[in-house]
């Protein structure tokens, strides 16, 4: 199971790399959020998947899943949520002010101060 999930997160990361390298700002943002999912899946896999029990505290527990990766992922999801929202607002403002969502047109610093 771990192998499958690792491969899946690899697939997600490669898709996102392709999208981040494209020209459209919206595609880049989508690529970033797919990237975050890939990383979160990997983080979950690193803690070990499905040991036959829930993450539970209690002294008598025979088996339990590592609860830490889930806490980390929750934190990280919150952060990626905030960052994605900010990026979307920013992309929208850029489109409003500069009239383009093509990163090739966003190059250079010669034309104005």
């Amino acid at each position: 199971m771990e192998t499958v999930i690792t491969i899946l997160s690899g697939v997600l990361v490669s898709i996102s790399t392709y999208m981040i390298l494209s020209r459209s700002v919206i595609r880049i943002i989508l690529g970033i959020s797919i990237f975050s999912h890939g990383v979160h899946l990997l983080l979950l896999t690193m803690g070990g998947l499905k040991t036959g029990s829930v993450p539970l505290l209690g002294r008598g527990a025979e088996s339990f899943t590592d609860a830490l990766p889930q806490a980390l992922i929750l934190t990280s999801i919150v952060i990626s949520f905030a960052v994605t929202a900010l990026l979307l607002v920013l992309a929208y403002r850029v489109y409003q002010e500069l009239g383009t969502d093509n990163v090739y047109d966003l190059r250079g610093f010669k034309d104005d101060l």
Binding site: L42, M46, P69, I79, V83, L98, L106
Partner: protein, 493 residues
Amino acid sequence: MIYNLIVIPVILPIIAAIISIFLRRFIKTQRWIAFGVMIINTGISIYILQLIQREGILRIDFGGWEPPFGILYVADSFSMLLVLTTSIVTAICLLFAFSSIGEHREKMFFYPLVSFLVAGVNASFLTGDLFNLYVNFEIMLLASYVLITLGGTKVQLRESIKYVVINVVSSFLLLLSIAYLYGTVGTLNMAHISERIAEAGQTPLLTVISIFFLFVFSLKAGLLLYFWLPGSYSAPPAAVAALFGALLTKVGIYALFRVFTLIFYHDSAITHTLIGIMAALTLIGGSIGAVAYKDVRQIVSYNVIIAVGFILVGLAVGTPEAIEGSIYYLIHDMIVKALLFLIAGIMVVVSGTARIDEMSGLIRNYPLLGWVFFIAMLSLAGIPPLSGFIGKVLVGQGAVETGAYILLALAFLSSIFVLYSLLRVFLNSFWGETIITVEDEMPMKKGWIIPSVILMIGTIGLGLGPEFIAVYVSDAANTLLNPETYINAVMTD
């Protein structure tokens, strides 16, 4: 013993930020709250530094969860010196912002954002937990994302989208590296990781993970992977650019120092050599950039990159003198880079252009500004008795001891390039025929020149009296070179 005092440099700016959000309309109050908090932080940092001298490394376990289970903050001399410098530099940049940032930015939560930025920076310096480091990086970066776009001019928007994208991607790469490390050693507490790696040996797998960390933090620090830096640091207004130039890359440098002296120090033949190569390439690239551009803000930004390369030479060399030199240079660079960005900002405002070939004879109109720039230039080039000197000497001494002559040559050649690039600015824009007539001359505001003069006094003071901080710097270098001290402080009650 519980040292709740350590969280104060983080919590105080957060509380100030929240209160300032409530007081949105009262800009004057917001100003003094933000400024006051930085002053209090300065005092507290000095007190904590003294306390560390007396009682060793301090720590605070959040919620009473003992390490390695909970999150904790650890205050050693290295991190507290950086917190102290951060507080001082931010206070002065705020002083500059009072009269330069403009009311519409102040109304859009400028002061709360700066406070959040400082909270994130201080928390990154203090944390003893790798995942918490990621979270603190994010707090700092989120505040910086908003600060760089604040005001919403076209240049800012254009540059900020690159800045935000590159930093978000590198943040997730950091998370990826943390995931790998957690999968390998099964803990996130930095001291505990170090202990486990020391027990089991740094396997090739761990070295690969360390190179992941190297690349991530290099992206943040601008070590070799600096291509995003000059554009985005020259877009925001001077006060914000000064904060960025003084603080943000330094957090990346701090993380590199912490990770490669505390955790991955066993296989230095690979990692530290790689750091050395990257530092050398950074010095070359930064030097070329600094002499290639005619935009004063670009020149100053490339000077940031050269400094990053220089500080990392100290880490690559790794002798006690070199590390000490790096710490001196780090503190010096935070002060002088802030000064340089402030002067560049003033120059752009008074002359109405950022190109040095279009400015001329500014020293006739603004003599004090010219001489402050001159001092900053000499300090960056490492002329004694200014503050850049001692760092350069110590790093050079370390490089000679270990026989790293290529790094030594590049480090000192880069000083010449720094001198040349800034001298070019000086000759072009301050010397020569004045182009601003007396009628057009913009009066120099006190709020602009006073912060610059304070920073200038800071660099002279640090150069003349390094013995005031010598105790703390040598203690910091000691802790960095002997990870057991840090581990013992964290892992025992």
